[in-house]
Subunit: 420 residues, 2 copies
Amino acid sequence: MSKKNAFYAQSGGVTAVINASAAGVIEAAREHGDVIGKVYAGRDGIVGALTEDLIDTSEESAGAIAALRHTPSGAFGSARYKLKGLEESRAQYERLIEVFKAHDIGYFFYNGGGDSADTCLKISQLSEKMGYPIQAIHIPKTMDNDLPHTDCSPGFGSVAKYTAVSIREAGFDLASMCKTSTKVFILEVMGRHAGWTAAAGGLAAEAEGQDPHILLFPEIAFDEDKFLARVEDCVKRYGYCTIVASEGVRNADGEFLSDAGNTDAFGHKQLGGMAPTLAELIQTRLGHKYHYAIADYLMRAARHIASQTDVDQAYAVGRAAVEYAAAGKSGIMVSIVRESDEPYQWSIGEAPLEEVANVEKMMPREFISEDGFHITDAARRYLKPLIAGESYPPYADGLPQYARLKKVAVKKKLKDTFEI
Amino acid sequence: MSKKNAFYAQSGGVTAVINASAAGVIEAAREHGDVIGKVYAGRDGIVGALTEDLIDTSEESAGAIAALRHTPSGAFGSARYKLKGLEESRAQYERLIEVFKAHDIGYFFYNGGGDSADTCLKISQLSEKMGYPIQAIHIPKTMDNDLPHTDCSPGFGSVAKYTAVSIREAGFDLASMCKTSTKVFILEVMGRHAGWTAAAGGLAAEAEGQDPHILLFPEIAFDEDKFLARVEDCVKRYGYCTIVASEGVRNADGEFLSDAGNTDAFGHKQLGGMAPTLAELIQTRLGHKYHYAIADYLMRAARHIASQTDVDQAYAVGRAAVEYAAAGKSGIMVSIVRESDEPYQWSIGEAPLEEVANVEKMMPREFISEDGFHITDAARRYLKPLIAGESYPPYADGLPQYARLKKVAVKKKLKDTFEI
């Protein structure tokens, strides 16, 4: 196998641990100098490949790369830019191959969710069709935990931990104040189609009456009367009610309860305003004083409370992608394989991209309690190890010290520019 | 001095560290068995005193009391219940004295903000008038940092740290994504009249271009055009714009930009919706994609990222209250005295309650930059030490282990009940 450079890009919404995967890729590649030359990162994800705006990661010190392990966000920039089918987006795919050829790139590491698995698959297919050899390997990342064929998606464990910790803390607050003040608290969490994040909030309730009292999932059609009856029951029973609500909660007709009306580049609706919608309903129908928090990006950026399991797995899948590439593999996603629940043991595996691309893993119905308002023991067994362990970043002057890279640009070799 | 029991109550909105003050009071009282008998805590704050619903803290183990140091919320329950003037609320004050007499209570430790300092003052005045000796000492607490005659208010340092950490993390997220996605992020923080919390967010920006780019204070009249011009300038300059906005931002007429319309028991307006108001404005006028988070209670409950300085000070003021009481003092608030900025050195002092009650400490104008959108070096010197140090709670199974007390009720001695 001749020595080739590698391309690495981050895709879609970033997480608290996607940079740990980047560190895994770059550190492992540096150890494989026999087959891998330089690792070029796409500035702003795949956009950097299309515009030939590559970052030379060899300009970053070993210390800076190691610091990526505790740095949230996408250090090289990520993008919401979806490549469509090979015919529809032919110009983009051909441009990618052109850039890869120009920079002697033989490895394509794409770090993202379902959409990027699809892009990764197409690159690997195109590589065969166009006779330019590229090993394309997908590194899983998504806080939504909706990738199939892996025990979990790196990025999820940390939002899960953030949610469970936050609602436990808010619940203690409510319990203190409910006698004379707020009776209902709603934490709105991200999660468009699957209720994984809301489910994770349920871990904080380890005994009867503990917070959160109610979870609202996109998987369960919202029933206003049933919900309000449950809220009222909690207020009577515990003095207050704590709720974790997924932004993607829908009514029986499948319409989002609240909808900001915007769509992103992938055609996904930008959601928001679930918490105030529920709060308004509770105040109007039940008359209770409420408060709500909207976690939004804070949850996916919260490296300060990242799960150690998540950080370890994110780093491991990054390293493994390079190992698989060095072993000649292509067209696969690196996966996490659960060996046992308790103690949680996991190993690294692989899944063919054909089976991963554009498949959304929904939460199993048996993870949701029969009444639809909480999680089951099966869900607890699955979720519990994913939030285990605290991986604290270093601090100075009270603030976390996150890596700020040099991001030195690779000299362009192509004459043509490309408009994205 | 004859041995008397003590009464301790938590008042107003709870914080991540008010229980550290409770631990300080109870532990110090246990060391002063010569003059202090039992510490009775009011269940749900002063409400517990009025309804003779007292918690016997001697039933809690030393371990449980120590665990309060790392437990957010008000472990005995807090209340938004304001006693008014001595004439207006005569029945309440007389009832308090009656309950104190019945339980041989000679010390009144009230842990709260400006309103509770006022109550504390009135108790000490009433004690003289009614000839029943009570030493009333106020223990400062408020995340709003608006108590006068103290370097800072315990509870503030931790929300300050939460805000600075959160906006730094969200800023890293935005920087990753702004090329193809969100351009503006708004973090709405609590803070009704003073911009201390928003100011603290400014600490995260340690160099030109770092997050947050814009702070919005209640102290500075909101100027729509100036604000939008600044947002646009940041987007041009940095590719995106991060904003920390106080919920209490007002226009030139002094009206809150957004107002949920509810009022609490103290007559304060319940605010909310500042972030969506600003976001809407930005989208309409500038067309940028936005995201926003509303921290709400998450910030004041976030013991997982509490400031070590804050925890230490909260504990110290609790202990000092008992020491002052044992030394025969009354009618004072325990205060924190800044000895030096760097290194930050502080000691414990006292302030007469007449000078504390109902006085709101505003942020000095010289802490806000001339253009009104950020903090000055003077603000940094003041704020920086308050967020220093990380005081992590213990974890099990990925979740913080917060104290859940037994809260054993003291047997009632009075025949009359009291309706609150």
